[in-house]
Each structure stands twice: as C-alpha cells, then as structure tokens.
C-alpha cells in the first residue's frame, strides 16, 4: 500500500474505491447454489418404460429476495414430497438454480439448464425483470416457462406467447383492481391516498387499485412512491396523514417494507381500519413479525390462507409439518400449485413438454384448488378469485388472512377490450390507466 505517501484527497479516492469494491464483493459473492437433483422417489427405474421430465427451477435463494425465493422452491418441493415425484410412469426431476434476483444470472442459469442439463421445462424465476428475461429466452429455444410467483403484467400481455404461462399468481394490476372496487363500494371510502413501491410491480399494483377505486366513484387525492431501499417509512406516513384522505392503499413487494410501514403507521396512532394493503405487504412474514397488534388488518390478494376449503386446509397441514409450525404464504402456494398443475397434466397425458404442456395446463379448470375456482385465459394468465382479507387469530396461535369478500373470475382486463388495453402505455408513475 502506498497510502502513507499520498495526499489527503487521493487517500479519499483510494478509500472510496475500497468501499465500492467491498460493496460489490458483498453483493456479488453470494455462494453459487449447487445443483440439487431431487432424490428419486423410488420405483420409477424398475418399470422399464419410465420417462423423466427434467425441470429447471430458477429462484433467488440467496441475496435480498432469498426468503421469498426459498419459499417458492419449498412450495414446489412440498408437493412432490407429499405426492411422490413419479406420476403416470413419468419421473419429475428438479434442478434448482439460484439467480440471486439478477436478470443476467437468471439468463445464464436458464441457458445452462437448457443447454447443459437439457431440461424439458423451466420454472421461475421470481422477480418481474428476471421473469421477463427468462420467458423471452425460453420462448426463443422452444422450452415452456412456468411462472409460480412473478406478477409482471406483461408476462401474459405484451410478452405473451404459447410457451409462457403464469401458473401460481396474478398480474400486478389484476390482483389489486378488486381492492379498489371493494374500497369504493363495501368499504365505503370516498377518497384515497396510495403509497406504492417505485418500480414496475408497485406501478402495476397501484394502477389496478386506482382504476378499481375510480371506476366505482372513488377519488384518489394523492399518490406517493417509495424507493425499494426505504427502511424508515415515517416520512411517508406523515405525508399520508397530511393528505387527509378517507383511506390508504399500500403496495410493497414483501419482505421488510410491510412490517416497517406498519410500525411507522401504527406508531403515529393512525387508524388500521382505514388501511388496505396488497398481497405481499400482508404476507405471512409480515403477520409473524407484527403479531397480534395487526388482528383486523385488511388486504387484497389472490391467496387467502384463512379460506374455508379442503384444498387450503390440506396445504396448511402439510406445510406446518414441513416448516415446523408456520402457515404458508403466497410464494409457497405459488410453487405448490405449479407442481400440482404439472402433475395433473402428466397424470392425464403422460410425458408432454413444449407448447403441448402449456396448452394442457391452460385448458385445465378447477372448481376449488388452493386459490379457489381457477381457469386460464387465452394469454395464459390465471383467471380466478381475488379476496379482500382480514387478519384473524386462530386457536393454533397463528394469524391467518381470512376472506371477508370474494371477487370471482377476475381477469387481467378490467372489462376493457384486450387489444385496446395492450395499446396503452405500460403502467408507470405517470400513467395509472
């Protein structure tokens, strides 16, 4: 080191360089996830005629989205663990790859899975930008791409194709439109202020809520946007209070922003009954972090773990055993339902892949799976119920998002003509529909 010879400003440059390097190291040094083929459930090989469906599963199991990414993988694995990974003579083999939430890594891993491991199906990844990148690549090489969690509207709108299907979630705007409708009608609110994450998912979620609210006579008085890196929400809560609207709608991408927002909001003594959150702000992670003080908190989502249904009860029971007592959130449900869709196609048709697999998935309809009554539209997007949920404390000591209102057969167009809707600009701070 030559630092003793340099003048003060140059030391600063050296220091800044060191810090920058270190920060890079911190973000880039996530350990590569070793390929983990699912152990063979046994029996498959002995039948002689067995075939193997190899699944490449890309998820951010390290990095900032590690928890959601791991849950998405756990949901998938949970299904095969419960039901065995051999269906109708076809063995399902999964290779999990970590993309750390970075689209470049997602693409590299997708190419590795397709070229080296010769997978038949790609599942994932989780984040919108990574999902769009992988979907485009998968379509270009003719491999079907299933999306258990990714919410980006364009996966099944502007970028829709015969190989991409959203299996376990809904588009960002689609899942939140009923929230706006409910707030303006049953909720009885006339004006609203919104606080949404300042990137595609937040813009889409907010756009859904705003349109639902305005289409039913509500008025949005102010829209606030927070950077994803925000940890202290007090400054936004003060602005919400100053806006003086009847209600507040908040959309975050899950993780820390949910509890961090609630801590600030409740700390300032604001009324929880005037609050409506999106799916992920009130996911199980938030419920566990905040505890009983948020009993009664309302949110809108396509997933409701507190719904009375045999399918949901079965998943909850299985996941509790799997996780040591936790209740499954939306990411678990997404991974689980994706696995069950693949399994039911294999059950009916034996080994299929490519467009046939996607077509078979989208032809299926369900009277009551874990999400409720679900089917698919011609853009390969989920059409199904959206729930207005309320946090309820159950006898097992866990908090559940329990439906208080249900909007059935919600599609991604809010009554618009698809062609017309696709002609609009994509949602942003400036364009909310």
């Amino acid at each position: 080191m030559t630092s003793t010879m340099t003048t003060a400003p140059r030391r600063w440059v050296g220091f800044a360089g060191l810090v920058a390097t270190a920060a890079l190291v911190l973000t880039a040094c996530a350990p590569p996830q070793a390929a983990e083929p699912e152990p063979d459930a046994g029996g498959g090989a002995e039948e002689g005629v067995s075939e193997t469906l190899t699944v490449g599963y890309i998820s951010p199991v390290t990095g900032n989205f590690a928890v959601a990414g791991q849950e998405m993988v756990d949901g998938w694995n949970l299904y095969w663990e419960l039901n065995g990974n051999e269906v109708n003579g076809v063995t399902v083999e999964t290779i999990v790859e970590d993309d750390a939430g970075n689209p470049e890594i997602s693409l590299t891993k997708a190419a590795k899975l397709v070229e080296q491991d010769e997978v038949d199906v790609l599942v994932g990844p989780l984040l919108a930008n990574t999902a769009l990148a992988v979907a485009e690549y998968a379509a270009s090489v003719g491999i079907p791409n299933l999306h258990p969690v990714a919410a980006s509207d364009d996966l099944t709108q502007r970028n829709a194709n015969d190989l991409t299907v959203r299996t376990g979630s809904m588009g960002g705007s689609q899942a939140n439109y009923p929230g706006g409708e409910w707030a303006a009608t049953d909720g009885g609110f006339g004006t609203a202020v919104t606080l949404c994450a300042d990137y595609a998912f937040g813009w889409e979620s907010c756009a859904g809520f705003v349109q639902g609210f305005q289409d039913n006579g509500g008025e949005v008085v102010e829209q606030l946007w927070f950077p994803n890196s925000t940890t202290d929400f007090s400054t936004y809560v003060s602005q919400i209070q100053a806006a003086g609207a009847d209600m507040v709608y908040v959309a975050t991408a899950g993780g820390a922003p949910g509890p961090n927002f609630l801590t600030s909001y409740l700390g300032l003594g604001l009324d929880m009954d005037r609050l409506l959150l999106n799916c992920c702000s009130a996911d199980q992670g938030t419920l566990r972090a905040m505890g009983e003080q948020i009993v009664g908190l309302k949110s809108v989502s396509y997933w409701a773990e507190g719904r009375e249904s045999d399918a949901v009860a079965e998943l909850i029971e299985a996941y509790k055993e799997f996780s040591g007592g936790n209740v499954p959130g939306a990411y678990i449900a997404g991974g689980y339902i994706t696995a069950s869709l693949v399994a039911s196609v294999l059950e009916e048709q034996g080994f299929v892949t490519g467009e046939e697999l996607v077509a078979a998935i989208t032809e299926s309809t369900f009277e009551d799976n874990i999400f409720g009554s679900v089917s698919f539209d011609e853009y390969n997007n989920t059409v199904g119920p959206v729930y207005i949920r309320e946090v309820v404390l159950r006898e097992d000591g866990n908090l559940y998002n329990t439906p208080i209102a249900t909007y059935e057969d919600v599609d991604q167009w809010f009554g618009q003509d698809p062609e017309e809707a696709l002609g609009q600009p994509t949602y942003s701070q400036d364009f909310q529909g």
């Binding site: 080191m1 630092s3 003048t7 003060a8 400003p9 030391r11 600063w12 220091f15 800044a16 060191l18 810090v19 270190a22 920060a23 190291v25 911190l26 973000t27 040094c29 990095g63 900032n64 590690a66 928890v67 791991q70 300042d198 606030l224 946007w225 927070f226 950077p227 890196s229 925000t230 940890t231 202290d232 007090s234 400054t235 936004y236 003060s238 602005q239 209070q241 100053a242 993780g255 820390a256 949910g258 509890p259 961090n260 801590t263 600030s264 700390g267 300032l268 003594g269 992670g285 938030t286 566990r288 972090a289 905040m290 505890g291 003080q293």
Partner: protein
C-alpha cells in the same frame, strides 16, 4: 405540506432516523479513528445484536435486559474476532478489510440459520407504548426515546473522550501510535477495547433500532452503507462529525422525500457527494 403539525412531525421523523444513524455510525467512526480499519462487519454486529435483542425482549418483555444481553454477546464476539483474527493482519489495510467482510458473511449466514429469514421486530410489550400528544401533533414515545438514547450515548462518548484517562489514551493513539506505545501503553489492547466498544454500540443500535425497523437478512449491508455515508460526511474518526452527519442525513431524508420526491433515491447520497467535492475530509475530519 407546510402546516406546522406536518413540519414538526417531519422534524421529529428526521431526528429519530438520524438518532438511529448516529447509534450505527458512532461505533464505526470510533474504530476507524483509532485503528484505521473500515470495519465491514459493523453491519453484521448490528444484525446479530438486533436478533438477540428481539429474542430476549420476546422472552422477558424487558428492553433494558434485551439491550444488555445483545451488547454483551456481540462484545464477546467482537473480542474474539479481534484477538483471534484481526491481530494477525494488523497494519495491512487490504487483508484487514477483507477479513472483516468475511466475518460479516459468516455472522450473517449464522443469523439466517439460527433466526430464519422472516423480518423481526421488537415485540410491542418491550417498546414504549403510546404517543406524545400536543394539540394536533401526535408522535410515538418510542421514537422520542431513540432520540434520547442517541443524545445520551453522544454525551457519554464525548465525556469519556475528553475528560478521562482512557479517552486521553485513545486520542493519543489516534494521533501517534508509536509514541503512545513508547510511553508504556499497550496499544494492542487499546485497539481491542475500541473494537469491542464499537461492536457494542452496533449491538445497542440493532436492538433499539429493531423497534423502528425490522431486522432481516440483508439489513447488515444497508446499515453498513448508511453508517459509511454518515461518517464520510461527518469526517472519518470524528464523533461530533458522526452526530452532525446523522442529523443532517435524517432531516434531509425526511424532508426531501416529502418535498422533492423525484430526489428520493439521492437523499442519502447527494449530501455525501457534495461533501466529498467541497470538503473531501468531511465536515469535521482532519487532514492527514
């Protein structure tokens, strides 16, 4: 946007966020001032302290006990890191920094394995309930309490630094390590002591801070970044600088996000860039 209640609330928002930043940055700046180490494990000490604090507070409902336990556990961890690892690379800047990065990874991964990935907050039973009410102004007591803790720590550190023999040794160590060791002070143990105190402050920040914002994997990097920005603005090694930098960042962040939301991404970095351009040693830093 300019009503008195809104302004007062925003000032308190800025001050309480700044108070948390000060708890983070003071330990880092003290360690840097004496040892010339940028302790990249500082964020991990915050994370570990936060988790331990949350667990103990959940078990006992007592915030003081939670803070004390967290500080002790993290201080012992830091002691081991200093004595077993850091001593062997003393004076070699790059190995020192890389070593602390490694320690940060190990601690963060152990935390993930032990405490899981869910965000965790101080249970409400252990925080200070209720809110201050003056007319229309409502403000949570807990955040006011955080401001109080930061002021107390700041005064305490200033007192020790200027009025005690330990403080004199530390200040002498900052100025000239060789002379102070020639005068019979075992500088190696002064270093160890300072490293442990710095980590203890991080643990205190972690526990107190988890009542304001969640502890979860990844927080260690955010916290480290904030602390670095604050001490770059304030001047490396200066406690006064850390205090001024924290309050400045806290207030700028609170008001800019309300008045100029387009700048929301730069509220932390713009002041740093300006300081680096106009006064590269930081507001209270000394030229080398």
């Amino acid at each position: 946007m300019f009503e008195p209640v809104f302004l007062a609330q925003q000032v308190l928002n800025g001050l309480s966020f700044g108070a948390l930043l000060f708890l983070l940055a003071s330990g880092l700046t003290l360690v840097f001032g004496l040892m010339k180490i940028v302790n990249m494990a500082h964020g991990a000490f915050y994370l570990l302290g936060g988790y331990i604090g949350v667990v103990i507070a959940g078990l006992t409902g007592n915030l003081l006990l939670a803070v004390i336990t967290a500080v002790i556990v993290v201080a012992v961890t830091a002691f081991l890191v200093e004595v077993v690892l850091l001593r062997f690379v003393r004076g070699q800047e790059l190995p020192e920094v890389l070593l602390t990065i490694g320690v940060s990874f190990v601690i963060a991964d152990l935390c993930l394995a032990i405490f899981g990935g869910d965000p965790q907050n101080l249970p409400t039973s252990a925080t200070i309930p209720g809110a201050l009410m003056i007319g229309d102004l409502i403000y949570p007591w807990y955040r006011i309490f955080v401001i109080g803790v930061a002021i107390a720590i700041g005064i305490g550190l200033a007192f020790v630094q200027t009025k005690t023999r330990i403080g004199a040794i530390v200040r002498a160590g900052v100025d000239d390590r060789e002379i102070i060791s020639a005068m019979g002070v075992n500088i190696a143990w002064v270093f160890t002591g300072m490293f442990v105190v710095g980590a203890g402050l991080a643990a205190l920040g972690g526990t107190i801070g988890s009542g304001m914002q969640s502890i979860l994997p990844g927080v260690q990097n955010e916290v480290l970044l904030y602390a670095l920005v604050v001490i770059i603005i304030g001047g490396l090694g200066s406690v006064t600088g850390a205090a001024v930098g924290s309050v400045l960042i806290g207030l700028i962040d609170a008001f800019a996000k309300a008045w100029i939301p387009e700048l929301a991404y730069f509220t932390i970095f713009l002041p740093m860039a300006l300081v680096l351009v106009l006064r590269p040693t930081g507001l209270f830093g000394r030229t080398a």
